[in-house]
Symmetry: C2
């Protein structure tokens, strides 16, 4: 059987994600994707009738990816601090490979202009991240790996905000700003 559809479809999501992260949801068009993939505008509409369908697919795939990362046997068995670094690496990759901010940050700033289904999916994404981090920090503190005041939820909010804000700030200054942010948040978690 042909896998032309599957290939094109995932190429569109790949590129759509890159454009979304790089330019915001209102900053790219089907034409950008079409030109870059060497196909026509209408071909994209065949796979994703509305732009919000594409946006939704991008967020859903990212949530699945994170879910798999969290459930990965190798990752799961790492020592807490290495697992933390592995989490930070997700954000570092946004910076190095895609020259972009993170998905939650991009979607949150565009939030008010997003169609309802994308808003809901964005909420889900942020919920996933917050929940994972909260549980992770809670376990880590109980084991003595991490130390921080307040509740695990308080600290989870801080850690995610730093990743998100750090990626954005680094975009207008220089790469070192994000790396300094990561180093500092690591220090702040030291027992």
């Amino acid at each position: 059987m042909s896998r032309t559809q599957g290939d094109t479809k995932s190429k569109i999501i790949d590129l759509g994600e890159k454009l979304l992260l790089g330019k915001g949801f209102n900053g790219f068009s089907y034409a950008d994707i079409a030109i870059s993939l060497g196909i026509k505008n209408a071909a994209i509409h065949y796979h994703f009738p509305c732009k919000s369908d594409l946006g939704l697919a991008i967020i859903q795939r990212a949530r699945e990816r994170f879910k798999k990362w969290g459930a990965n046997k190798e990752t799961e068995q790492l020592p807490d601090r290495e697992r933390l670094d592995s989490f930070f690496q997700i954000y570092r990759h946004y910076l190095t490979k895609r020259e972009s901010v993170c998905l939650s940050g991009a979607l949150e700033t565009d939030f008010t202009t997003l169609p309802k289904p994308m808003q809901e999916e964005t909420r889900g994404l942020v919920y996933d991240l917050l929940t994972w981090m909260e549980i992770f920090l809670d376990q880590g503190r109980k084991r003595g790996t991490f130390s921080f005041p307040g509740t695990p939820r308080d600290q989870a909010i801080i850690v995610l905000a730093v990743m998100q804000g750090g990626l954005q700030m680094t975009r207008v200054t220089d790469q070192s700003v994000f790396d300094l942010a990561v180093s500092q948040i690591r220090r702040l978690l030291k027992p």
Copy 2:
């Protein structure tokens, strides 16, 4: 002399800022402003020939505002921790009065799509914020008001990233998230 111009012009900047913070630079149009102010599209172009002229004016005014805030005699003489809270209040106001994210965060996510002059002004804004916070934290630590590992610059990055990311996250969850972020960053600075 008539002050019609001055009035309209600053009303445009006011509304433009609100829209920029609420919907992103690519998320609002001259028509939004025109309708809301009860004037016509062309009237805005009289004051700001290009949209980037308006964007530039918004950022420049915000920088002036922050400069004045920093140089304000009353603010300057406050104890460090009250001055820190006064800084946090700037961000809290974005949330309560404008239902929006902060200016640097909004501009950074749209950054790649912004005209050059706006990019440069955005860099300046972030530089202002980072520099002020770095000096403030440095002095505070020397006085024993604040405690944190790493350099003042490291910590300044973290604090700003938390404000920025916190405002964005709170938009898709609930207001408490931003307040929890502020409480937590205050705790993390405790001696």
